[in-house]
């Protein structure tokens, strides 16, 4: 539960926090924004889901992503091929954007989260913890694993008319990565993390 007083992010109205039961959430009485939630064993779940996400992230970047079959010709691609091909075709700005939001930021988000949360599990505060956790929170809209997955589905359906697409191990890993990242995001309680960071600092 947040400490003494909180202000709504969206309309600045002050609220006195109440003790919530697990799964409950407090909403702003004026604009309806969610003020804070209470989640059960939030830290444990987020750590486990982030670790799983990290494993699937590595698998998604190593194994073949998709295989394209057309009249006896076979073309295999990995997750990184799209970025490489955009570079080759001179769309370097788009290539960099795709690389950042589909690979770099998801990795930064997962590792940053683990860097802060794993030591917190044993009541330790890692070096530069608040800066790193601030970065993790800021990356939220820019780590686009979920959007990328929809792009994959649209691309597959578009090609299904005239060619055979065989999903590779990396594509299944990517789907798992998406699920575990979403689960980690859903179980994360940022209020709880900030309060823990404050407490362990004092020790």
């Amino acid at each position: 539960m947040p400490s003494t007083i909180i202000a709504c992010q969206d309309c600045d109205l002050l609220h006195r926090p109440r003790q919530l039961r697990d799964g409950q959430r407090a909403m702003c009485s004026r604009c309806g924004a969610v003020l804070y939630r209470r989640k059960r064993n939030s830290l444990d779940y987020t750590v486990v889901f982030s670790l799983s996400a990290l494993i699937f992230f590595l698998m998604a970047n190593v194994f073949p992503f998709m295989t394209f079959k057309y009249e006896g010709r076979v073309q295999e691609s990995v997750l990184f091929s799209g970025v490489k091909e955009l570079f080759v075709q001179d769309l370097w700005a788009v290539a960099i954007l795709v690389l950042i939001v589909s690979v770099v930021f998801p990795l930064l988000k997962i590792t940053g989260m683990l860097y802060v949360l794993l030591p917190l599990k044993v009541n330790r505060r890692p070096w530069k913890a608040s800066n790193i956790f601030r970065m993790v929170e800021a990356l939220h809209p820019w780590a686009m694993v979920d959007v990328y997955m929809l792009g994959v589905i649209v691309a597959m359906v578009k090609l299904s008319d005239f060619a055979t697409i065989v999903p590779g191990a990396a594509l299944y890993s990517f789907a798992a990565l998406l699920i575990f990242m979403a689960a980690a995001g859903a179980t994360l309680d940022p209020h709880d993390v900030w309060e823990r960071l404050e407490v362990v600092e004092r020790v």
Binding site: V94, G151, V152, I153, K158, H191, L197
Partner: protein, 210 residues
């Protein structure tokens, strides 16, 4: 404390860690930092209106090339067929893939327009200190902020297609310049939504009453 807002009692809400701190009025022009997380404390997002306007205008200008130029060209047996954002949706509809056509229409056409018009409406409403439906306008802001990233579907689709379809003489897919403009529109509107401060909607209510 009933119905008091943070800024009325010299309090400031940290947008990063949600800690409410006291801000000394005399320190108004100096930078203050959150005691808990170290983020810079601002009563409101800095130059929110000017920044958001600049980003919205830039995105609106780029919206034109993003829709006029092809985002990719499918070349099969030497013949090229350019695809724009709109023709991509049309071809999905023509081949009867309705759920997907609706999805792509929503992500690539509806979302950018909702964001550009929504943010423009919010900016005008704050500038002219409208008293009209602040709660609904705050909800409009939250929608604008949440849906923006989904417009990237088309960009990702292109990156996947150009990597997969590379059969020199038979079929290749080349990305087009429209893709760069469209990606820029998505990124600029995301930044625009982030730089808008929804608390300004509520500030206008008090200004009128005062």
């Amino acid at each position: 404390m009933k119905n008091m807002r943070a800024f009325q009692v010299s309090l400031v809400n940290c947008t990063t860690c949600f800690q409410v701190s006291r801000i000394e009025p005399m320190l108004k022009n100096r930078n203050a930092f959150c005691p808990r997380c170290g983020a810079e404390l601002c009563r409101r997002k800095p130059n929110s209106l000017a920044r958001t306007w600049a980003l919205v205008i830039a995105a609106s200008i780029l919206y034109i090339p993003a829709n006029v130029y092809p985002i990719m060209t499918v070349i099969s047996f030497g013949k090229g067929e350019p695809d724009t954002i709109l023709s991509g949706v049309q071809s999905l509809m023509a081949s009867g893939m309705w759920p997907l056509a609706v999805l792509v229409f929503f992500a690539s056409i509806a979302v950018p327009l909702i964001k550009l018009f929504g943010l423009t409406l919010l900016l005008i409403s704050v500038q002219y200190q409208w008293q009209w439906r602040p709660r609904q306008r705050t909800i409009l802001y939250r929608i604008t902020e949440a849906v923006g990233r989904w417009s990237m579907i088309d960009i990702f689709m292109i990156s996947i297609l150009v990597a997969l379809v590379r059969l020199e003489a038979i079929a290749t897919i080349e990305p087009g310049v429209g893709a760069t403009s469209f990606a820029a529109v998505v990124v600029l509107t995301m930044f625009a939504a982030m730089s808008f401060d929804p608390r300004l909607i509520w500030d206008a209510l008090e200004k009128r009453h005062a």
